[in-house]
Subunit: 542 residues, 2 copies
């Protein structure tokens, strides 16, 4: 312990609000640097925050409810900003109003794709730490390890009701099921929504489908009859610790139904829990994309299926916000609405990058800087724009703080999420982080510190690569520079070095493998066949 | 006259508000197509507009004042939208508020560079029609022809005071001087602000200056001692029809002073005319860019000179709006604040393209789609977003309408500007145009119709070029398409054909040439020397 830290600890103990236990959360090295500089100031601010939260709890008789809405693949600016509605030719009045009534984040960072971002939100850790660094596709035979401690587990332990509806995308092994990861009740998908329920149909429209069931193959030149995936399970439902059941088999019609059913389930959850003695945490991560125009009316100038999807999403978010008000619990509920990563920019006439460059999977801003809004009437100042760096991992720690569950956060591993309660209570320029390490898959791709970004991968050795960006001067990362950033070379090297040293001390958990579809009671024959195929795959070569 | 037109004319005459004279403005062919479809509807709406304008005139005792603020080279989104303030790291609270209190335009099109846009604003015509299609640089020996009828002339004739302050950029021949183009008083530059007052200094900083006066050259390898420009005149001032005088010689210090002096002049003009019996039209087109950081404090997160420029611009616009309120004339004054074209994207760490692609000089959206705002308390609905196509040419016709001067618009030439008064009075989806022909220099580069854009230049013959864009689905023009737009081939061909036919009937005026610096009384010796050099240039080969 350095002298500064010791002094800080003594100050904190004297102030008396920060317990030694809370102090023991292990953050990444960079956070320790900030704590040295701001520890005392933050501890003081935390006193004020605690007072405010206590006053709220007194007023409402319980801790605040938390609704975390997170959807797929949406670029910053695509929704929630009226100027961009006009540019893109569709309207998102409810998300625009959410920003007007609450916070519009301009620098909310996620991981670059669905599985990692969702794992990060659940665990508060860089997805690479839990082995969840890569988008899962069926067959997967992998998923979120049981030892990971999710925000649902933490809030459950602290006395919350916990519900999950929508796209989980945490893999197809039983331990990864969300009812086994802390949720009281969960209706969710194990994969993304594309294959095969929607994508095979949409692929069919594009002349590239395999059909979505085994018998739909034309087989005369196939040799391996097991390779193409089928028996896909789109949506399952379960109660905490119990077995799951498939809801609807994966057809395009059912996929479309599921979008609406999930919305109803989310609304129903709020209805049921609104007057409960316990507060609730609802993760509603809706399926959004239906990129076929067949049978869809056009209500937008843009006229694409994508625009219709945004139109529906906006309406759905609006219904959630309306219901919270209707039930009289809006003022005790923090709602976050955000995308999980940037758009799949290679889907022409569908997803689109409106401001930054890059898209889903990319370490450039377009992959990781997303539309994000927060509303909490009476607590969040209306019309706040937050230009701070906030990451999806921070929601974990912030939700824990709001739920009075900081002492439930495990202290045997690195927690990347930083408590950002101050941002929600006080607005702009309150972030407790100024850095973000971006991983694409298992690779450390780039690091952001303040307004600067350095790219670690793809560079050639020596001094020939322009790996540095100033994100204020060049938010679209069009002009990598080197000479202008000679000053930043050493400081960035230091940031990486201390991050790497922490990673060595607390190694990443390898991706957890297992047998898919275990723990589902009503497996269809083709799903069992699929499972058998995967088992063979996994046994071969062992 | 077609039957429809005849019927329309009769309807208009019956309605009694649209005189046959006003009917005779010659618009481009495309507008006639719209008039066939909307003539009756617009004539009815015009009745209501006339009533509203008359009521305003009665209330304030005169026609509305018009302040047109237009600055250089600024991308859409760069100013006036808070989300983008956060992304770019500087604030424009006054322009943001202008949008909140009035209109934010999301599809205001200009010409692709300074001289053409300014000529278009003055004449209501595509700059190519007046020979003003290309940015002028010293030595120029050219400028806006005397026969062009400017909005200043029209409003003067209709009883307005007319004033000009800032960057005119209409060339260096006497007939182009703004006091000879309808302005009662004008303090202005004949060129842009870069050479040599500012640019030579900034070039010097970048190691590429020639010095800005003759004696600063190192001459040992020069043969032609006259080629490099010097004797540059930065700023002149004059009264209507009179001779001009140079204000301050072009040094960086004086350039910086001039920015502030112009602001004072604009404020002074409003102060002097606020209580005048006549309404006023003030074109304040400020110099903005000072891209040297030397001696400038940083008050932005962005920290570049560019950001400081935006900070100052925003403050200056705010002062204008404040003064109008202070003088009690805000409710009888339409203020437009806008950029003249996209940014010079090749000036690293300075100007920047934040949303679209392309920049100054470019027919892509980044060249021509600019930040634009309007305020008129009591008339314009606060917080209006206008997604319609509006062009800088339309301001000419709209200002004439507001000034009761439609009958002063010449009827012997094509007027591209469309009366958009309805947009200011009723807001979104009221535009009377859905097309725009974009010229880069003398070339017809592209045409926009509704959400579609077709590029005319650069294509290869046949079916191999993807020259079509859907600007809702692809606002950044990243994916030109062809097959998807086979339907649009013919309709676009028709639009071009009728435009070309109109151009044949009303040919473009060739660029007007002459001797530079005539009409300036206090020419410095080096300016006379410069003039002599140019005279030689112009005589050689004749």
């Amino acid at each position: 312990m350095t002298k500064t830290k010791l002094r800080l600890l003594i100050v904190m103990m004297l102030i008396g609000t920060v317990t030694i236990k809370a102090q023991k959360i292990i953050h990444d090295a960079e956070q320790e640097i900030l704590l040295e500089q701001y520890g005392v100031q933050w501890a003081k601010q935390d006193q004020d925050i605690d007072k405010k939260l206590k006053a709220l709890e007194k007023k409402f008789g319980k801790k605040p409810n938390i609704v975390h809405i997170m959807w797929d693949d949406n670029s910053f600016g695509e929704v929630g900003i009226e100027a961009f509605n006009k540019i893109r030719g569709f309207d998102t009045p409810r998300l625009n109003k959410m920003g007007e009534d609450g916070i519009t984040f301009t620098r909310m960072y996620t991981e670059p794709s669905c599985t990692p971002t969702r794992a990060a939100a659940l665990t508060g850790r860089l997805a690479v730490r839990s082995g969840m660094h890569t988008v899962s596709f069926p067959p997967e035979g992998a998923g979120l390890p049981a030892e990971e401690v999710t925000i649902a587990e933490i809030l459950s332990e602290a006395g919350y009701n916990t519900g999950f509806v929508g796209k989980g995308h945490q893999g197809d092994i039983e331990e990864a099921h969300l009812q086994n990861q802390g949720f009281d009740e969960a209706t969710f998908s194990m994969y993304n929504q594309f294959p095969p329920a929607m994508w095979h149909h949409q692929g069919q429209a594009a002349g590239m489908s395999i059909g979505y069931e085994k018998d739909m193959y034309e087989k005369k030149y196939l040799v391996d009859q097991t390779w193409r995936p089928y028996g896909y399970i789109m949506d399952i439902t379960a109660k905490k610790g119990g077995k799951a059941r498939e809801t609807l088999p994966p057809t395009l019609e059912n996929y479309r139904k599921t979008i609406e059913i999930h919305q109803e389930l989310a609304l129903d959850y709020i209805n049921r829990k609104a007057d409960d003695d316990k507060p609730f945490y609802l993760a509603y991560w809706p399926n959004v994309y239906d990129l076929m125009r067949v049978g869809q009316e056009t209500t937008t100038s843009n006229s694409t299926a994508f625009a219709q999807n945004m139109d529906r999403l906006d309406r759905h978010v609006g219904e959630i916000l309306d219901l919270l008000k209707e039930k009289g619990i809006a003022e005790n509920t923090l709602v976050i609405a955000m995308a999980d990563n940037g758009p799949m920019v290679e889907v022409p006439a569908a997803m689109y990058q409106v401001v930054f460059n890059g898209g889903k999977g990319d370490y450039r801003e377009g992959g990781i800087r997303v539309a994000a809004f927060a509303e909490w009437p009476g607590v969040i100042e209306p019309g706040t724009y937050v230009g701070d760096i906030i990451t999806v991992h921070d929601l974990f720690t912030t939700f824990a703080r709001l739920g009075g569950a900081m002492d439930k956060i495990p202290t045997d591993r690195i927690i990347d999420g930083v408590d950002q309660t101050a941002t929600f209570l006080y607005g702009d320029a309150q972030s407790r982080r100024d850095y973000y390490h971006i991983y694409t898959g298992p690779y450390h791709a780039a690091t952001i510190k303040q307004q600067y970004k350095r790219v670690w991968i793809g560079g050639r050795p020596g001094l020939v690569k322009n790996d540095f960006y100033d994100l204020y001067q060049d938010p679209r990362e069009m002009r990598g520079m080197m000479a202008q950033f000679l000053w930043a070379w050493g400081p960035f090297d230091m940031v990486k070095k201390r991050h790497d040293l922490m990673n060595k001390k607390y190694p990443f958990t390898p991706t957890r493998h297992g047998i898919p579809f275990e723990g589902i009671e009503n497996l269809r024959p083709e799903s069992i066949q699929f499972q058998e195929t995967v088992k063979k795959t996994m046994n071969t070569g062992k």
